[in-house]
Symmetry: D2
Subunit: 447 residues, 4 copies
């Protein structure tokens, strides 16, 4: 059976991921993501109203025209988790394919919301829920399996397409976490089995975000311990404490909510995306929050919450807000500008349970945001975080577990791949033979 | 009563700390440290055989000639903890003063070893043990108190000299740790009392090592959690695992020993200073190690241990060795060079539970060491560590607790002080008035 | 005679410089500058319409309330050169003082334009022109002298106040250039004389912008050589070439204009501040441009120029435009966004004859600007520049020339001063004695 | 005709370059270099006495065993210039091939010295001199041409193998210099011709050392201008001035010698490799030095020169010495340690006309060297230098000139290639199709 991999998007950047695997006549598409940065570089674009081709031209979504080179039918579109760089182009591209979208429950909910907000296209592909550990048939001879992985969002999986020629493992995005705060540990046992059963692994596509970093990415439980240490250290402070983190990082939000209670404060989630992700997680039972946890996204309800906080005393609350990257219109930046009813005062604490995404635009915005907060007297605690992506020793362990015939680094640009190429070369892979450094829009023939 | 502070050493560098406080006719000296870097820049110096004046000339030990400007008698020499930059000059300088050396038990043991190894001077000052929480009289009107603090070595204290004009708090070195792995948390309650009782705090001398860093230094319990995460992640590895850390960091060594047992390996401490610090800690009961824990310092016994490891199987052991900074003659570097009986093989793990001290010499040596280890096939896990020094929010909290009339930044150079000056200025202190940025060899008249 | 120095602004930052020297009853004020960054952190402020106190509160202009502590009369306000951080607060503060503004011709023109644009205050202080090398009496016993220096703007001087107690030399801003492209070399001979005549130098206030940098700042003639090398290297290119630099940097603009001619292109200056500074320089005869050099500031005339360029062929022109820091509304950024009639095409060259001011906001904006330009196909040549500020060896030479009794580092924050403090300490100065690290709003009594 | 490229060494590192091109039955080898860093990581190795295989095993010289996969005869070994990473393995490998070594005069002299110093192998290949612009036949249907290029050593060329299928251009190492200080400008006219004549360029192998750097590398004339600016600025200093640079950088040494005379000092070249390279250049007439220029390499003659300098007055001399990277045994480091008769005093100037090679080992050594020099009172001027390697816009221009069918990045590791891959991709090349990112030991079949 012929096996081909089309590396459609996210092979020259982090963002707008899309990969297709053809096994005989059957094709599975992994991820359809958005590169938000390519949108934001322009002023005032409303992507909801934009056409796919314009977004392709600006490098914001994958250029899926290479799909016409693959001879077969798309049988499933499989987003691996709910981050925008993996699902953000579904509303622009999925309607072109007559195939269901197959994902874990939380991811599927987020896909549904994306599709619902879309203003240009009608996306009515079937939505099929599949949990980690489950499988489904793809055509007559292949099988799709979801292996549980751990990432900075819940319900992340690595899809595996079992073919007669061996398994194709799509390894985006994950860290190797044996003690995550929510959900099960990464299923290394299953990866090791896949590496050894049947024909073994034909191809492994790897998340190289952190491939230039030494060591291993710590567990979320380490970030949680760090966060706990910070929050307990300000337990006696009797003024305002505000926290921010990735809205989609349900485990982190859960820790913030829990530790807020521990130190005698009522947590409140504020900001549109805070409400969206945590609300969704709670609704589908993927996260358990206190019954009385307030989540507010609309401007008016946020202001009402802030007013209540100011009336009842800032010392009784922990607002968890958007704005960890200093985004100009996010809640925390607005607090820094004094545009909300919440008055920051000398000595108030602002906790960034996030790291600045290392790109000059973010760094500039975050710097401005911190300046504004400090001008109000805020004390800043930053980098209370661990990454959601494997570092080198995680890559080493994955290669050891899967023993793939071919590897394809993804989710980076050429400079970002270099650490992975070094690592794989050290393990006996050879560029151009079984180590495929590729680009967007290519097709790699494996069998 | 006249109060003067002589800032003798460590006010233009990290290293060779020494400060004297004169209260009326009585003088207390805090720390007498060594700047090892000033020794190592020269080839092959044996400090044990060197004269004080030569070491002063090369900037290795404090220039204590300014002491003659202080009119009074030294009543006590008080090293705050056992690091060389705080006790390393005692063997060269203490004999000039007719005063006891007063320290906590572990620190005192280390002082005794320093004095014992000295080849040039006979240092027979009395050694007086005093625990955190205890006090002793200094002259007729003053009192010396030890407040428990947390640092990267056990038994660290901040000495406080209570004078009729207020307390002088000597704040070197510490981090604010509410859940240290060994010993009691930092005694913030006592600091707050000192800030409010009697005349309050006349002067606070602060450890500015990390004063340019945002946020707060995490607790040792966070480093422990991180270390645990790394070690459990390699639990199934059936080859060699080697760890290195600061020999004097008893809490970290304890964690390494404990987690080694957890993952089914026998820990062994190897290297001269490993044996020295851990042996001392165990002997005086400051740390509890398993009865059968091997500690070997002499070359022959180290080689014997390595041979046993190779015979019984590397997969059964965790050697904890010296060499975390890539020091050319330390154990780990020698392992990298293949100069020990321990054979590193492809896939063997080397854990650096330490951070490179950010100075080009260290960075160069550490880089070389890692290169050698990688050439043997080693996989490297680094930065499993937290600092022992306060960051900005710790400084903020200390100012809030003590509310000192005067502050003196120490333990850095001018660039290193800048973050502290910014912080203190923001809290209302003013350069030249009550915020004293000074240099080695000055005397500051407070009253 | 009592001599006091009030360090009013620019002693905790680069920006909003202001220093007053009182000699007996006579006061001279050096610089009244604006910290533009403190304005831009807020959205949409129009400083022209703002009140001084609001600008003081936001840290944008010097807080001159400390002037009331000085017992004497202001006899002159002396801006050293025409950069906004030295003249930008004159329109907000000068009217409070009954004293003339004394400056070199180019600086005075720029002051006049500032005053003219001011919308809130009427500033009608006398404007007195004085050239480098000239002097004027201040009160009965003092004399003000202008010593020629070299900086990134023409007509820069260092004012010296000769008092019976020695000279006070105000050393902001300069580099030591023996072969500037426009104007005379720095007058080191005069500095050396001042250091040796009469009572010598009582006090030297130094520009520490680059005090943490090793070596010496190259001459503008080195930047010119570099620029020439770049421009000649693209001589054969037959498409668009665009250059940007600091609008106020007349020497650089002159070189750009000259080399444009050399490679067969017509230079055109575009953008409001390009027109302003070069137009002013030409009008007063401080710079000589080709008779037919176009300078356009208003949107309409700029667009007309661009249209002409597009009609006659981009290959015949070198537009020199604003936007070297990636300012969002500057000409080059607008070109990147495709908002001007000038079409950038694949292979077109963009020359940044400037360095990014190292602050995250600038770095973020510049990065965005370059991204936009590259998206149009532009090739980028950056860092064709040398700084206008002394590095360490320049500071060393100034100390050697002036041999001042007291030195006061300025034009930086505490971290920025550190290199200077190290240098001065190495030359025998002592913090708190004759080396005065101070802050905004202090008064230093020298005699 | 079959054309193959064997990428033997220097495709995973900077160093130990070696590439073979097979055209039909004829093979030409370009470069046989040494990676000195792989030698120095070990203690006390004497490469002169070592066997090739041991040096191959440690990654110090190219692993030429892949040559047996090429079916043909080596007709020429062609080192491009005299740097060790291009000629340093000739003495270990060339004797295995029955082929002449073809090089420019200066390169050939240096090869001869290498061969002469070799202690293990007898290398008696013919040495054939060929100048830039000349050609020689290779087999019956190919021709080897030398195109003049500009680099940080004189007499550098880019060899071109003209085959019936097009030209193979070996582009290591060069910068695009239109006004070099010695020798002719880079022959861009010839490159453009080669790109357009006959079959055009089949393959271009490019020097990617600086491929991640923006803009263009300045001309040596810019470094010369910078150096002149520094040296003239210390013209009046009446103490010691010492300079260091790359010994092989004859153009720079020439400028140092010339400017020394200009400021009234006698230049003297000191150190073994200073004597070697400059002596060789002078002997073959490639550089013209003053008749009385002293060059001393042996310890005794160096000491004699130093003694003369001390007797006649340091203010009359400019020693140009080895040690620009802080090498522990080089002359300048020994001067810092006080191991030479030359006494450094307060205020003496040390000029580094070189940049630190950015690798932690060098950075550590250089830092130590500067510390030692500063401890003697030296004032340091560093980075008076420009690189010898193309930056991105040089690569862009080369692609534009040659329009090659295939490109192969070389002289870097994977991370170092990334900037080149981005650039080439932007110009329409595609990874795996006509853009070949490869590794040591591969063979690429072009026709």
């Amino acid at each position: 059976m012929e096996i081909e991999i089309a590396t459609i998007g996210g092979y020259e950047e982090v963002g707008r991921q899309m990969t297709a695997v053809r096994a005989g006549d059957d094709i599975v598409v992994f991820d359809m993501g958005l590169n938000l940065s390519q949108v934001l570089v322009h002023d005032n674009l409303q992507t909801e109203e934009m056409h796919s081709l314009d977004l392709i031209d600006m490098g914001a979504i994958p250029d899926d025209r290479v799909m016409s080179d693959l001879e077969g039918d798309v049988k499933a579109i499989v987003p691996t988790h709910g981050h925008l760089d993996h699902i953000g182009a579904i509303s622009k591209l999925a309607h072109r394919y007559d195939a269901p979208i197959v994902a874990t429950p939380f991811t599927l909910e987020l896909v549904e919301e994306e599709v619902h907000d879309e203003g240009k296209f009608v996306v009515d592909n079937d939505l099929v829920e599949m949990e980690a550990g489950e499988t489904m048939s793809i055509g007559e001879r292949c099988e799709l399996e979801f292996v549980n992985v751990t990432h900075s969002i819940i319900d992340a999986i690595n899809p595996v397409l079992h073919t007669p020629e061996g398994a194709v493992v799509y390894g985006l995005d994950k860290r190797m976490d044996h003690s995550p705060v929510i959900g099960d540990p990464i299923d290394m046992k299953r990866f090791r089995e896949i590496g050894r059963e049947g024909e073994g692994v034909l191809c492994y596509i790897e998340d190289c975000t952190n491939a230039n970093k030494k060591g291993r990415t710590p567990s979320e439980s380490v970030a949680r311990k760090h966060l706990r240490d910070v929050m307990y250290s300000v337990e006696d402070y009797d003024g305002g404490i505000v926290a921010t983190t990735f809205s989609s990082h349900i485990a982190r939000v859960t820790s913030l909510v829990e530790f807020a209670k521990d130190i005698g404060r009522e947590p409140i989630l504020l900001g549109r995306s805070m409400e969206k992700y945590s609300g969704t997680a709670e609704r589908i039972g993927a996260a358990t929050f206190p019954d009385d946890l307030g989540m507010y996204g609309h401007r008016k309800s946020v202001d009402r919450a802030f007013n209540r906080i100011m009336e009842e005393g800032k010392e009784n609350f922990l607002p968890v807000v958007t704005g960890h990257q200093g985004e100009p219109r996010a809640m925390l930046t607005r607090m820094g500008r004094g545009e909300t009813p919440y008055d920051l005062e000398d000595g108030d604490k602002v906790l960034f349970s996030a790291r600045v995404i290392p790109e000059p635009t973010n760094e500039g915005q975050r710097y401005q945001s911190e300046r504004l907060l400090r001008m109000q007297g805020a004390r800043i605690y930053d980098d209370i975080h661990v990454s959601g992506h494997l570092r080198q020793e995680g890559h080493y362990e994955m290669l050891d577990a899967l023993q793939p015939q071919h590897v394809i680094p993804a989710h980076q640009d050429m400079g970002g791949f270099s650490g992975y190429v070094d690592l794989a070369s050290g393990q006996g892979y050879e560029l151009g033979r079984d180590l495929h450094v590729t680009a967007n829009g290519n097709v790699i023939q494996l069998v």
